[in-house]
């Protein structure tokens, strides 16, 4: 695929922790629309790859990245990109619900306040919108000043999603967002992801193949740091080109 404005292109990306290579010269194009899932057995590097898109890997001292990620005509990995600004547009939801020890309201307000938005009415407006987008508004609208820890695990994760949406990101990275949740909470998050696809590009890492099959348009299969296969989800799950992919999705390893 050629370089278009609506593509995120990973070019010959290698990521190392110290001397150990976690991602080995990966090339990949991600459509800037819909949902893309990264699958593969644990330790295959899928989270490491995800954390490259908003430079979260910068926060790990031993981690180094070689290669390019091109988006909107810029190389996201170059020194001229400020990760702090980037993360506003490429936001992230993590594996464990990681709410801040403050109120529900302040959790969502965080990303806005650090951008200098102090006005209550503006904040109120964006916070309500974000909570609605995260399917949480009706459950919390009466108790916005309650401690975020008073929410259930699934609600906390949706709060984290609302928090990430508040800064109006173009891309939402999700690192196994349901791995700490029960099936009912998981179903709710999956439904939410389906609804979000209209507003934001979702890139999700998942340990569950069925989840990838249910929610994603594109699927990327990684194995031991290498990209084995990438393509339309339907195709990957029905007629994979690589033998390894076939073995993995039929549960023969991983």
């Amino acid at each position: 695929m050629s370089i278009e404005n609506n593509t995120i292109s990973v070019k010959d990306l290698t990521i190392k922790y110290g001397e150990k290579e976690a991602i080995i010269s990966v090339n990949l194009d991600i459509q800037e629309s819909g949902v893309t899932a990264f699958i593969g057995p644990s330790g295959c590097g899928k989270s490491t790859l995800l954390r490259a898109f908003n430079r979260m890997n910068d926060e790990i001292p031993s981690c180094s990245m070689i290669g390019e990620i091109e988006w909107r005509g810029k190389n996201l990995l170059s020194d001229e990109i400020d990760p702090v600004l980037l993360r506003r547009a490429v936001s992230m939801v993590f594996q464990k619900p990681n709410v801040f020890p403050t109120s529900i309201y302040e959790n969502v307000a965080f990303g806005l306040r650090i951008q200098g938005i102090k006005h209550k009415s503006k904040l109120d407006e964006i916070i309500e919108e974000s909570l609605r987008d995260a399917f949480l508004w009706d459950e919390v609208k009466e108790r916005l000043e309650d401690d975020a820890y008073s929410l259930s695990g699934g609600q906390q994760q949706r709060l984290c999603i609302a928090r990430a949406l508040a800064t109006k990101p173009s891309i939402l990275l999700m690192d196994e967002p349901t791995s700490a949740l029960d099936p009912i909470a998981t179903a709710k998050i999956e439904e939410l992801i389906q609804a979000l696809r209209e507003k934001v590009t979702v890139v999700i890492v998942t340990h569950s193949m069925s989840q990838a099959a249910r929610i994603s348009d594109q699927t990327v299969f990684l194995y031991m740091g290498e990209l084995i296969e990438a393509g339309e989800t339907k195709k990957i799950f029905s007629e994979p080109e690589e033998e390894l992919t076939g073995q993995y999705i039929t549960g023969r390893f991983g």
Binding site: N54, M56, E59, P61, R72, K74, I81, D82, V84, L85, L86, R87, R88, A89, V90, S91, M92, V93, F94, K96, N98, V99, F100, P101, T102, S103, Y105, F110, G111, R113, I114, Q115, G116, I117, K118, H119, K120, S121, K122, I126, E145, D147, Y149, S150, C160, R163, A164, T167, K168, P169, S170
Partner: protein
């Protein structure tokens, strides 16, 4: 040969004697606490039996004139002196300490952390009498020149007390900051926060209960600090808050009683009443600190928080009305072009991180100036004659021979009492005692004992060991007093060493039929020896540098080394105290030389502790 029946009917042998011995060791903290309360209570009652003293005047009076024909015992001047020093030193050490902890925990590279952390540790190892020397002979002259302070002044005391409590604030805040889960820090960064915003908006609020505890413990320490304030702040109790002038703290008054500047009678017994006030004060602060540590992250914030939230909402609405509306683009922002506000954030990040990083260098500068002054003044005076002669009243002949011997005797005896008791108590509490009310009670007692200001131990030594038990002004009295003081420290370090031994070791022994004590004796204690030894050596260092508890019982005029436990004694810190206060300058140099000897001994002790710890870590196979 095992007789049949020994393990079938009845119980296995239970090491009854060992159990009760260990239980007694654990109960010593209760006895020590009882002695403290008894000493303070009976002394206070004695004080109020004098005609000159009334309880009402004591708690409401604003004049503290213990001497003269018409004495007056209103405690407020002492309280205000104490408050001035405590609040003043906290105002310096809270910002510095929290900033330093933030730098260590969030910004410093592992390499600079390895370099910076020892500054804090060295600072915490300097005895308070050394800080007193520095305050009186270096900082005070500076204050006299710059802010027109008097010879004795609160300002110099405030500065050294700040340096003394800084390590408490740094190390406890650092622990709290490092305990903040990595996940929520990542959440902040993932939302586009700078590291500074992450540190101030997420890490600090999450660590706040730990930081509050740190501040409260530092406050308790500042209130209880004796030597530096006695030496630098003076002995005139006056109700004012001017740091340039002389003040007397609660502790300093007790020390004044100890040094014999106070005639017998109500003025002396007033020391006990002041001691009671000091005890109540530090005890309450300590209780608050324990309460603060209990509060966990994410615990329900309750009504107070909800109220604060309402206030915040109101404020921001007012703010909004005043400042009008800023346009905020609700559409997606450009990730490549910083807004004006982003540029401001970048500058703020740089400046703030620089300021925070420099906080530890203030501590370093303090340390370097202190060491440099002492080396400059003291090094020349150290020779064989100085190390062997007796403390003559002629400066050119004076030495510290008997003083060194006194200190060595003192720490040996102290450890002889405190080590078995402390290790025994720790073994009982961690390994044998059933979890329950009794265990909790014993632990709480130890915690409280650890928080008692050292000068109060001095009162107990004087009243109980010296007078009641009739041990007089002897090594025995001095070492029992110090033993009471270091006991909690030994218990805590021993417990840590025991808990570091894997549970599986105990299970393995219990699984083949050992009693709990046998498991501990053969499988836990041997593996905990290096940890216990390290803790014991650090306790020796503490006892060696401590002045206040033995201020009452040291014999200033003994010219010979002690030969038995009932002899009078001198100790290095006491010698430093008296030579520093000597009007002749030649004796100040002697004090500096004595400080150097004391610091050398402390340095050696610390090196031994580090050596043992490192060797044990290298040899450990589990």
């Amino acid at each position: 040969m095992i007789e049949s029946g020994t393990f079938l009917d009845g119980r296995a042998p239970r090491n009854r004697f060992t159990h009760s011995a260990l239980f007694s060791a654990a109960s010593l903290s209760v006895i020590a606490s009882a002695l403290i309360v008894y000493t303070l209570a009976s002394g206070t009652i004695r004080f109020f039996e004098y005609e000159e003293a009334t309880f009402f005047e004591f708690i409401t009076g604003t004049d503290w004139v213990p001497n003269g024909r018409n004495p007056s015992f209103g405690i407020w001047p002492l309280l205000s002196g104490t408050a001035l020093i405590a609040v003043g030193s906290l105002m310096i050490s809270i910002p510095l300490g929290v900033a330093a902890a933030l730098h260590l925990g969030e910004f410093a590279s592992p390499r600079s952390r390895r370099f910076l952390k020892p500054i804090v540790e060295v600072l915490s190892g300097i005895p308070s009498v050394v800080h007193g020397f520095f305050a009186l002979l270096v900082i005070s002259p500076f204050m006299q020149r710059t802010i027109d302070a008097t010879y004795f002044n609160a300002a110099s005391a405030i500065i050294v007390v700040a340096a003394m409590i800084l390590p408490i604030i740094v190390s406890i805040s650092d622990d709290a900051i490092r305990a903040v889960p990595r996940e929520i820090k990542e959440a902040a960064l993932g939302l586009g926060a700078t590291r500074w915003e992450m540190a101030t908006k997420v890490v600090l609020p999450s660590a706040r209960s730990g930081i509050v505890a740190a501040v409260l413990l530092a406050l308790a320490r500042a209130v209880g600090e004796t030597m530096a304030v006695t030496m630098a702040a003076g002995s005139v109790a006056a109700l004012h808050f001017d740091p340039r002038l002389e003040v007397q703290t609660l502790t300093a008054y007790i020390a004044q009683v100890a040094t014999g500047d106070i005639p017998p009678g109500p003025a002396t017994d007033a020391g006990f009443a002041v001691g009671s006030a000091l005890f109540v004060l530090t005890y309450s602060v300590n209780i608050l600190a324990v309460g603060a540590t209990r509060k966990r992250l994410g615990a329900n914030r309750g009504k107070m928080a909800s109220l604060l939230f309402q206030i915040k909402v109101k404020l921001s609405m007012i703010l909004e009305r005043i400042s009008g509306d800023i346009e905020y683009n609700l559409t997606q922002s450009n990730p490549f072009i910083p807004t004006k506000y982003d540029l401001f954030r970048r500058r703020k990040e740089k400046v703030s991180r620089f300021i925070v990083a420099s906080s530890l260098f203030v501590g370093l500068a303090f340390l370097l100036i202190l060491l440099q002054t002492i080396l400059e003044t003291g090094l020349a005076g150290i020779d064989l004659q100085f190390l062997t002669n007796f403390p003559s009243y002629r400066a050119d002949q004076a030495g510290i021979g008997p003083t060194i011997w006194g200190s060595l005797w003192l720490i040996t005896l102290t450890m002889l009492f405190a080590l078995p008791a402390g290790v025994g108590a720790a073994v009982y509490l961690t390994e044998l005692a059933p979890e329950g009310i009794l265990n909790q009670f014993l632990r709480r007692t130890l915690q409280n004992l650890a928080a008692v200001p050292s000068i109060i131990f001095g009162l107990v030594g004087l009243y109980v060991f010296s007078r009641m038990f009739g041990f007089g002004l002897s090594l025995l009295t001095g070492s029992l007093t110090l033993a009471m003081m270091v006991l909690p420290m030994i218990v805590v370090t021993t417990e840590e060493a025991l808990l570091a031994v894997p549970k599986s070791f105990r299970d393995a022994a219990l699984g083949v039929g050992a009693t709990r004590w046998q498991a501990v004796r053969h499988h836990v204690l041997p593996n905990a020896v290096p940890g216990i030894a390290t803790g014991a050596i650090l306790s020796v260092a503490r006892a060696l540098g401590e002045t206040a508890p033995i201020l009452f019982v040291a014999s200033l005029f003994s010219k010979t080394a002690p030969t038995g436990i009932m002899d009078g004694f001198l100790a290095l810190p006491i010698q430093i105290f008296f030579w520093t206060r000597h009007p002749k300058e030649a004796f100040h140099d002697l004090a500096a030389s004595t400080i150097l000897v004391l610091l050398m001994l402390l340095l050696i002790l610390n090196f031994i502790a580090i050596f043992i710890r490192n060797r044990a870590e290298a040899r450990r196979s589990w």
